[in-house]
């Protein structure tokens, strides 16, 4: 379980995350939603130790993130940021191999290779595994990064806007993969996501942030509700039930 206790982060005088407490359960997809500048990405980055928190505690399986050895954490939790700008030229396979670094420190064992190949197969990248990342389309590249995270084989997977810049087809593809990772492999996934309908259709639990504070959290069913969404986004959002999914209509 990931437990965030009274965590705050300031940049200059501006509170980006303000006294946030959240519990994230295992074996579920939890979505962080909210308007721009709500502090979602900052919170995610703090959970994954990419940036330090000013105050508060973040516990992963009852251990404080700041106290853990970085290498041990890397076997437990992985993070994928939205801007994956890598300066060196890598093939998909080479990228996925990096996912084994916490275990192998660079010298891949047979066990490591097994994980790498499984991850590539899982993401259906076998045919293009020797292609360079800069030759891929946006969707393929995102799948390659997710394959790397799968090879890293962590219990917790954090993704910062994984659907950014993807078209509908690829977005759905990625979300289905995430769903399968939870349902088949028992992973725990936390995502920051902008499209409320993807959050509604694919996540189990939703945490809504606004101005650095948690305004609402609960099972998806509870949060996808006109009056609650109005609190979060300051706009009227109608909810329709289509094929057992709650779809938010906010276009007019």
């Amino acid at each position: 379980m990931v437990e965030v206790r009274e965590v705050s982060k300031q940049y200059g005088n501006k509170s980006v995350v303000d006294n946030v407490s959240v519990k994230i359960e295992k074996g579920k997809i939890t979505s962080f939603i909210g308007p721009n500048g709500a502090g979602k990405s900052t919170l995610l980055s703090m959970v994954s130790r990419l940036i330090t928190k000013d105050t508060g505690e973040i516990l992963i399986d009852n251990e404080e993130v700041g106290q853990c050895k970085s290498n041990d954490l890397a076997k437990k939790i992985s993070i994928l940021k939205q801007s994956n700008h890598i300066n060196i030229r890598l093939t998909i396979k080479e990228l996925v191999c990096f996912g084994r670094f916490p275990y192998s420190q660079g010298n891949l064992s047979e066990e490591d290779w097994k994980h790498v190949n499984e991850a590539i197969t899982y993401m259906e990248l076998e045919d293009i595994q020797d292609k360079y990342l800069d030759q891929l389309s946006g969707g393929q590249r995102q799948r390659a990064y997710i394959a790397m995270v799968i090879a890293q084989n962590t219990e917790y997977i954090l993704l910062d806007e994984p659907l950014n810049n993807l078209d509908m087809k690829h977005s759905v593809q990625i979300m289905k993969v995430l769903r399968r990772l939870v349902d088949e492999l028992g992973k725990t996934i936390i995502i920051v996501i902008h499209d409320i309908n993807f959050a509604s259709c694919y996540s189990d639990y939703i945490v809504a942030l606004k101005d650095g504070k948690v305004v609402k959290e609960g099972p998806t069913d509870e949060i996808i509700n006109s009056s609650i969404l109005k609190d979060i986004y300051d706009m009227d959002i109608k909810i329709e039930n289509i094929n057992e999914n709650k779809i938010c209509v906010y276009f007019s």
């Binding site: 994954s48 130790r49 990419l50 330090t52 050895k69 970085s70 290498n71 041990d72 954490l73 890397a74 076997k75 992985s78 993070i79 994928l80 940021k81 994956n84 700008h85 890598i86 300066n87 060196i88 030229r89 890598l90 080479e94 990096f98 996912g99 670094f101 916490p102 420190q105 660079g106 890293q152």
Partner: protein, 316 residues
């Protein structure tokens, strides 16, 4: 493996050049010529390797192939110290004993300077490494102004000596200094060896490195210190060759086309040795000392670098 073959070829070529350098036109003076040339080669190998190595690591940390630690202001600081010494004490005072002191003071001050820069940089969260470099460069410009000021006041004969210091030279490397430098560099290299495995991961960028379990700040700080010491030692030993690192590392990248540091480091080191020994050969045998090696290397390195910058489709 094709990378191994390429590295092998580079190594063989370096050895060949060194052999030529040692034995060309030896004549009957083996006892006299060989030790002297041997010392020269040793100085070249030590500084060449130190510079190539620190540039590779530095570019990995900064995730940028157009930067080099030599521009951090250390060269200018070295020149300032040298000019200052001659300005105050005059050139006559530069005896051998003083040379050792000079070396130690130079290395000390340069390491101290980088230490202060790092301190300022890491005091606040979120400072980036470009900031550090720019600060170094600005201070370097200031040092340069100061040295120029003193150089103008120095009389032309003394200036000749300052000018000799301005350009790296392998000709009169002192044996004692060479020994100190070798011990220091080897010692640090051994200390450093445990960080080598992180380099590949570091080249993915900070976020990915942390994600993969590298204690980023800890590792990067230590690497930066190692770099500062290497650059300081090699500069104090032979003088500044600002663009050597940039030249050889980029050639290594073009030649090897790999991201793996076990190849990149060895490739750069060998290319560096080839450039320096080959260059020295050309300077001695073709130009017959009418110019210095470091001036040529900076010239070629600089032009090549501008070419790299202007070439299309590169992501820096």
């Amino acid at each position: 493996m094709k990378h191994n073959a390429k590295i092998g070829a580079l190594a063989a070529f370096s050895v060949l050049l060194i052999a030529i350098f040692l034995f060309i036109k030896v004549g009957n003076n083996w006892d006299y010529v060989l030790p002297r040339r041997g010392l020269k080669v040793l100085a070249i190998v030590i500084t060449g390797s130190a510079i190539a190595f620190s540039t590779v690591v530095f570019q990995t940390i900064t995730n940028n192939r157009i930067l080099t630690p030599s521009i951090m202001g250390l060269d200018s600081l070295y020149m300032l110290i040298q000019t200052f010494v001659i300005f105050i004490f005059g050139s006559t005072n530069l005896t051998v004993a003083n040379k050792n002191i000079n070396f130690v003071i130079c290395v000390g001050l340069m390491v101290l300077f980088s230490g202060v820069l790092y301190k300022v940089l890491f005091k606040r969260e979120g400072q980036n490494i470009y900031f550090l470099l720019l600060m170094g460069l600005i201070l370097g410009t200031l040092f340069q102004s100061l040295s120029t000021f003193m150089q103008v006041l120095i009389d032309p004969n003394e200036f000749q000596i300052v000018q000799d210091k301005m350009f790296a030279s392998f000709n009169n490397v002192n044996t004692d200094l060479l020994l100190i430098a070798i011990i220091a560099i080897l010692g640090i290299a051994i200390y450093f060896s445990r960080f080598i495995k992180y380099l590949d991961v570091l080249s993915l960028g900070r976020d990915q490195a942390i994600n993969l379990g590298v204690d980023y700040d800890y590792v990067v700080k230590r690497l930066l210190i190692v770099i500062a010491i290497f650059v300081s030692i090699s500069t104090a030993l032979v003088g500044p060759i600002t663009f050597l690192g940039l030249l050889v590392v980029n050639v290594a990248h073009e030649f090897l086309k790999t991201y793996q540091h076990k190849y990149l480091i060895f490739g750069s080191v060998f290319i560096s040795i080839i450039a320096l020994v080959g260059g020295q050969l050309i300077v001695e045998r073709v130009f017959t000392f009418s110019t210095t090696l470091s001036v040529i290397i900076n010239f070629i390195g600089g032009v090549y670098f501008i070419y790299l910058l202007l070439r299309e489709r590169k992501s820096w």
